[in-house]
Amino acid sequence: MNPLSVVVRTICDIFTWFIGIFGIYIIIHGHMTPGGGFQGGAVVATMMAFLLVSHGGKKTLSFAKPGLYTAMETIGLLVFIGAGLFGITTTFFFNFLAGQGGVFGATVPIGPNSGVLNSAGTISIMNMAVGLEVIGGLSLIILYMFKGIRLFDNAAESGETGHDR
């Protein structure tokens, strides 16, 4: 895929930052507004699609390394199951941080209010973990689909590669 015109590239350079921030907003406010880890992660992962379309494969693949996204995916999954396992002294997935004070455990006042951001305990940790996992996973899917296009272009010479060592 070749780079598009300078207009498209400039717009995309600016716009990807907004997409990233919007996605992170959705992840962090997962327990208060519609959306959550998956939805926000999917929004952030569209950054990768934007960059691939506007800047072309050569430039994007030079900094987007699959190992980085695999690491994000794995860390997200491990944090998620770790947050579940930490509660097992009560029950599995018990929200042991809620109502305990601190960053994640603020108490919510009774009565009408506009919501307290840091009140969800392990739920917001899990939202962030899922968000990290989905950013990694969907970016990897986009990268591999892009590599699949190239594979299709020169399929005549190389053919499909298997897992043989």
Partner: protein, 521 residues
């Protein structure tokens, strides 16, 4: 007692942790990765067996995820459960133990079998996700979570079946399985939607307590029965089975046999515990019986003519699923009549449930021996194989044990469960028992054919360099062989201590409901 209450959650948490940490274990090289895979599968099996033992002693276990207390099923004054509840009765625990043993054998077998390929940390992650999906389907007390775990298991199987992605057949098999699985998962979701719309609940016990047969419930039942028999590979919907079982790596096929049992578990959980006494007319039991008879006969007749060893065995799994459907269909038919239940229904259910463990063990072992043949001789075609008993004595011995068990030759465990099925189905309609007997004879015929062509006969020059398979593959196969021999030697003990509690739990719909709903408001 203290930590044992967490066993239902640990059964799911341990393989999930195993799957998520596999990429990290893969960084440590071959030894760490293999050690991690062995450690997680041994721990999962141990936890499943402990859970079975606990359930058999203490009765049905419930576990409320994320609640202040593990048995907090009806939180403060509500009349129906709102949280994610795991409900493990003797039948669930039995199925989980069976599935985890198959997973253990498949994992050990895969250590050497997959050794010459790359991408193994992904393989082990998908393998444990499949184990989680299977165990989750068997332990959950919630219809929607059943759907979620079914999807986890399906998605993991797509990747595993197409693991040899440079083989077009494997990609085709995976694609076919993907369409069938997605279709049946959507059917299940529609059915759950119908029930949720009627009763505002997705907990099986809560829905079962309120259930009155009407149009919505009938539609939901039809969707559930069709999709779950489709997932377990009964005859009109069996076309994915030969492709998927033949093309998946052998260790995965062994696990897929266990996973198809999870769909069967869902079918019987829906029929017995969700609908149970309100099932009314005998249409659904007879549908299951007819599907079972067709699966038995068509599966085995298709198997006899196959030339590829794993396809042959895959058609046999269609036919063996038929036995289980037949037996439990007869049990369902007798459900509303205590006299019929005492006469033949309960025997049929015992036979069917005993056949579930027998089938998983010997069919898993047969797929593993087929994988061992493929690993050593490099061919799955019966026309090319021959004379391998000389060079692969242990594999041959284990194949003979498994083949004798599946054919129902008297001392082996397959005979016991088949005998129970013959006796009880004869009381319903003699033709059913006749079809079952003919199927058994044809099964014997086709395995004599496999044994004779692959293992006996003159040594072929191109197999001169073939040797016995490596140690970990032998360990994987011997786990299943040992279970088969134990079941063969102690059928009465097994029937009394494992199978009968499971059958009783399945029949006892009121007990299943009261474990969550606390016996009324």
């Amino acid at each position: 007692m203290n930590w044992q209450i967490h066993l239902p959650a640990l059964v799911l948490a341990i393989p999930l942790l195993g799957a998520f940490a596999s990429p990290i274990a893969g960084l440590g090289g071959r030894t760490v990765r293999n050690g991690w895979m062995a450690f997680i599968s041994i721990t999962t099996t141990a936890v499943c067996l402990l859970l079975l033992q606990k359930v058999l002693v203490d009765g049905t276990a419930v576990y409320v995820m994320g609640a202040e207390n593990w048995n907090f099923t009806l939180p403060s004054g509500l009349s129906w459960p709102i949280r994610i509840i795991l409900q493990v009765d003797a039948f669930s625990a039995f199925m989980a133990a069976v599935g985890s043993i198959a997973a253990l054998a498949g994992a050990f077998f895969s250590l050497s079998y997959m050794d010459k390929f790359t991408g193994l940390e992904k393989f082990s992650a998908l393998y444990f996700l499949l184990v989680t999906g299977m165990l989750g389907m068997q332990l959950t007390g919630d219809l929607f979570n059943f759907f979620v775990f079914l999807e986890i298991a399906s998605v993991a199987s797509f990747g595993l079946i197409a693991f040899w992605r440079d083989r077009p057949e494997a990609v085709e098999a995976s694609f076919k399985y993907m369409i069938i699985s997605t279709l049946s998962a959507m059917f299940i979701l529609i059915a759950i939607g119908f029930l949720y719309g009627r009763y505002n609940a997705v907990n099986i016990a809560a829905v079962a307590r309120m259930l009155h047969m009407g149009y919505a419930e009938k539609i939901a039942l039809v969707f559930l029965v069709v999709s779950l028999t489709m997932k377990s590979g009964a005859v009109p919907m069996h076309m994915w089975t030969p492709d998927a079982y033949a093309e998946a790596p052998a260790g995965v096929t062994c696990l897929l046999v266990g996973v198809s049992q999870a769909s069967l578990y869902g079918l019987f959980r829906v029929c017995f515990s969700l609908y149970g006494s309100s099932l009314g007319s005998p249409v659904i039991p007879w549908t299951i019986i007819v599907m079972g008879v067709l699966s038995m006969f068509i599966g085995v007749t298709m198997a006899v003519i196959q030339k590829e060893i794993k396809r042959l065995m895959a058609y046999h799994s269609v036919s063996q699923i038929g036995y289980i459907l037949l037996a439990l269909g007869v049990g369902l038919l007798a459900l509303r009549d205590p006299q019929a239940m005492a006469d033949y229904g309960f025997t049929a259910m015992k036979g069917g449930i005993f056949h579930i463990i027998n089938y998983t063990m010997y069919k898993g072992l047969l797929f593993l021996t087929a994988g061992a043949l493929y690993y050593s001789a490099g061919s799955r075609n019966l026309n090319e194989l021959g004379g391998l008993a000389r060079v692969m004595p242990y594999t041959t011995l284990m194949f003979v044990i498994a083949a004798a068990a599946i054919a129902g030759i008297p001392p082996f465990n397959g005979f016991v469960s088949k005998l129970l099925i013959y006796q009880s189905t004869f009381a319903v309609y003699p033709l059913l028992a006749v079809v079952a007997l003919v199927t058994s004879v044809l099964t014997l015929a086709s395995f004599v054919k496999v044994f004779q062509t692959a293992f006996l006969g003159p040594a072929k020059s191109k197999f001169a360099k073939v040797t016995e398979v490596p140690g970990s593959m032998l360990i994987g196969m011997s786990i299943l062989t040992v279970v088969i021999i134990v079941l063969t030697l102690f059928p009465t003990w097994t029937l009394a201590h494992l199978v009968e509690p499971a059958a009783k739990a399945l029949v006892d719909q009121a007990g299943y409901i009261s474990a969550v709903m606390g016996g009324g408001l």
